[in-house]
C-alpha cells in the first residue's frame, strides 16, 4: 500500500511562535489516520499547510508522490484533496443543493452532471429533505453535514476533516462515523481527521499521530497510543500520571 500523503518535516512559525516544528507523518492510501493532540498543538496549522492555506516555512508535503509546492488551496483541491473547516463556512445565501453543486463542479464537466452528483452526495449525508433550504437556515449538525457533503462532492482521493464531530450528539456522531467507514470501505476514500471526540477517533482510525506543542510525540496504532505515557501526559498533565 503506497503512501497517498507524505508530510515531510514541515515547520511553521507565526511571528516567532513556533506553531509546527519538524512534523512528519504519512497517510497510506485507503486508510483513516487520526491527528490528535491537545488544543494548540498545531493540528489545524498542519492541515492548513497541506491544504495550501499556509506556506510551510520548511519541509515538503507530497501527495501521490508529487510535491505540493506552494500550491494554492484551489490547486490542492483540484489535485484531489478535499477539506472541511473547523468553523464551518456554508454558502449562506445559497440552498443546500447549490452549495454541494459548487463542490461537485470540481469533479464534473457539466452543470447537469454536477447537480446529479450533488443530489447523490446530499442523500448520502442524509440531507435529502433539506435540499432546497437555504444553508443559513440549517442547524449546526446539519451545517457540519453540509460541509462534509460539499467537500465530498469534489471527488477527492484524500479527505481532510477538521473536528467534524465537535458539537454533535452521540447519535449524530455514530452516524457520521458509519458514513466515513462506508466511504472508506466502499470507495477507498483516504481520510485524515483532526478530532477531539475520542469515541469517533477510536472507532475510525487505523493509525494515530499525536501532536504536542507543534511536534509529533507519538504515532502508531490506536491501542498503543492510548497507553503511551507521553501521550497521556500531554493530555492530562504530569500530575495525573
Amino acid at each position: 500500500m503506497s503512501n497517498l500523503l507524505e508530510v515531510d518535516r514541515i515547520s511553521k512559525s507565526f511571528r516567532g511562535l513556533k506553531a509546527v516544528q519538524d512534523v512528519s507523518f504519512t497517510v497510506p492510501e485507503g486508510t483513516i489516520v487520526g491527528l490528535i493532540g491537545p488544543n494548540g498543538a498545531g493540528k489545524t496549522t498542519c492541515f492548513n499547510m497541506i491544504a495550501g492555506v499556509y506556506r510551510a516555512d520548511a519541509g515538503e508535503v507530497r501527495f501521490a508522490g508529487s510535491p505540493l509546492r506552494n500550491a494554492r488551496p484551489d490547486q490542492v483541491c483540484r489535485a484531489g484533496i478535499g477539506r472541511t473547516f473547523q468553523l464551518v463556512k456554508p454558502f449562506a445565501g445559497l440552498t443546500v443543493m447549490e452549495n454541494v453543486t459548487v463542490g461537485a463542479l470540481n469533479a464534473c464537466p457539466t452543470v447537469r452532471a454536477a447537480k446529479d452528483k450533488a443530489a447523490a452526495v446530499i442523500d448520502q449525508l442524509g440531507l435529502g429533505a433539506k435540499r432546497e433550504q437555504m444553508a443559513a437556515s440549517l442547524t449546526l449538525p446539519e451545517r457540519k453535514r453540509l460541509e462534509v457533503a460539499r467537500a465530498l462532492a469534489t471527488g477527492p482521493r484524500l479527505l481532510l476533516l477538521d473536528e467534524v464531530m465537535a458539537g454533535l450528539r452521540p447519535t449524530e456522531t455514530d452516524r457520521m462515523v458509519a458514513l466515513f467507514r462506508e466511504l472508506n470501505a466502499k470507495l477507498g476514500l483516504t481520510i485524515l481527521l483532526i478530532e477531539h471526540v475520542m469515541r469517533a477517533v477510536m472507532a475510525l482510525s487505523n493509525r494515530l499521530v499525536v501532536l504536542h506543542h507543534g511536534r509529533v510525540i507519538a504515532a502508531g496504532r490506536p491501542e498503543d497510543i492510548t497507553r503511551d505515557p507521553a501521550v497521556l501526559e500531554s493530555y492530562l498533565g504530569e500530575e495525573a500520571l
Binding site: A51, V53, R72, P73, D74, C77, R78, G82, R83, F85, K89, P90, F91, A92, G93, L94, T95, E98, T101, V102, G103, L105, N106, V111, R112, A114, E132, R150, A151, T154
Partner: protein, 343 residues
C-alpha cells in the same frame, strides 16, 4: 437547450414577462416621443445596472467607477465614427475591447495585490477620475470642450449608423436589455455563475472547493466592463455629444448603481425593476414640480438620495424580492427553484 433555459423558472413569471415584453414592443405605437424618451432612459439604466450587477451582485465586487466603462465605450465608438466614418456596429467591438482592457487592468491590479472591499471601491473611483481628467486634456476627442457627432435628419432611420428617431433607439435599448436579462439568467446557471456566487458568499470555502478565485473575479470584471461599454455606445449615438466632466463623473457611477440597489442586488430582475421605479418616480416628481412652476435644480438627486437611504435602511435586499413574493413568483432570488414554480 430550451428545457435547460427555462428550467426552474416559474410558469407564472414567464407569462408575466412575455406579457410585459409584448406591451413594451407595442409601446411606440401608442405613446408620444416624450414617453419613449423616458423609456429609453429607463432601459439604459436597466441595462447598465444589469451589467454592474454582474460584478457586484454575482461576484461581490463593489465598483463605484463604472462610468469609466460607459465613457470609454462612448468615446471609442464615437471617435471611430467621427474620425473614420466607421459604423457603430463595428465600433462597438472596439468599445468593448477598450473597456474590457480597462476592466482587466483594474481587476488584475486589485486581485493580484489583494485590494478588496472598500479599498477596491476607492480604486475604481480613482480610475474613473483619472479618465475624466485625462479625457479633459485629450484634444483628439475634443477635450473638455466636448466631442460632437454630426446630427442627421431624424426623419430617416439609419440603423447602420444609429441615426434616427427615438423609436429606433427605443427598440435598440429594449433589445439590449432583453438580451442582458437572458445572458444573466444563463450565466447564473452556468459553472462560472456558481463560482461567482460561491466566491461572493465565502471566498475561503470557494477556494477549498477548487475554484480559482482570481480567474473567476477577472471574468466578472471584464464581462461587466464590456457589457457596460455597449451602454456607452448607445449613449454617444443617442445624445450626440460627450463631455468628460459629465460622462466620467462620479455622479454617473452612483446613478447607474441606484437601479440595482433599489431593485435588489444579485437578483435577476432587480436592476430592471429598480430602473423602472426610480426613473418613473423621478420623472413624475419633475412633472409635478414643473406643473407647480417650481424649478429646483438638484431635487432629482435629493430624491434619489432619499430613495437610496430608505432602501438601504429598510429594504436591504431591494424592492424586487418582497414584490416578487407578493406576485407569487418565488422569493425573487436569482435562482428560482424548480419546485416553487409548479402548481
Amino acid at each position: 437547450m430550451r428545457q435547460a433555459l427555462l428550467e426552474g423558472v416559474p410558469r407564472r413569471g414567464l407569462h408575466m414577462l412575455a406579457g410585459l415584453l409584448l406591451a413594451l414592443i407595442a409601446l411606440p405605437l401608442v405613446a408620444g416621443d416624450y414617453i419613449i424618451t423616458v423609456m429609453i432612459l429607463i432601459l439604459y439604466f436597466a441595462y447598465v445596472g444589469q451589467a454592474w450587477n454582474i460584478m457586484m451582485g454575482f461576484a461581490g465586487q463593489l465598483s463605484l467607477g463604472h462610468a469609466l466603462y460607459v465613457g470609454l465605450g462612448a468615446y471609442a465608438a464615437a471617435a471611430l465614427y467621427v474620425h473614420f466614418g466607421i459604423s457603430p456596429w463595428v465600433g462597438l467591438w472596439a468599445a468593448m475591447a477598450v473597456s474590457a482592457l480597462a476592466g482587466a487592468v483594474i481587476g488584475f491590479l486589485a486581485f493580484r495585490f489583494g485590494v478588496a472591499g472598500v479599498y477596491f471601491a476607492i480604486l475604481t473611483i480613482a480610475f474613473a477620475e483619472f479618465a475624466r481628467i485625462g479625457f479633459d486634456h485629450w484634444s483628439w476627442v475634443g477635450g473638455s470642450a466636448g466631442f460632437f457627432l454630426p446630427v442627421a435628419n431624424y426623419a430617416r432611420n439609419d440603423l447602420l449608423t444609429l441615426r434616427g428617431s427615438p423609436a429606433m433607439f427605443y427598440y435598440v435599448t429594449l433589445a439590449m436589455t432583453a438580451a442582458a436579462l437572458v445572458l444573466c439568467h444563463v450565466l447564473l446557471r452556468s459553472r462560472v455563475g456558481y463560482h461567482w456566487q460561491a466566491i461572493r458568499e465565502s471566498p475561503d470555502a470557494a477556494q477549498a472547493l477548487g475554484i480559482d478565485i482570481f480567474r473567476s473575479k477577472m471574468i466578472a470584471v471584464v464581462l461587466s466592463a464590456a457589457m457596460t461599454s455597449l451602454g456607452g455606445v448607445v449613449f454617444a449615438f443617442h445624445y450626440n455629444n460627450l463631455f468628460p466632466e459629465q460622462i466620467f463623473h462620479i455622479s454617473r457611477s452612483i446613478e447607474l448603481i441606484l437601479g440595482p440597489i433599489v431593485g435588489g442586488v444579485g437578483t435577476l430582475l432587480g436592476p430592471i425593476v429598480g430602473a423602472f421605479l426610480l426613473t418613473a418616480l423621478s420623472e413624475s416628481l419633475q412633472e409635478v414640480m414643473r406643473a407647480l412652476g417650481v424649478d429646483v435644480p438638484g431635487i432629482k438627486q435629493v430624491f434619489y438620495g432619499i430613495c437610496l437611504l430608505v432602501v438601504v435602511m429598510f429594504l436591504p435586499d431591494g424592492v424586487w424580492p418582497p414584490l416578487s413574493r407578493r406576485l407569487g413568483l418565488g422569493n425573487g432570488r436569482a435562482k428560482e427553484q424548480a419546485e416553487e414554480g409548479g402548481p
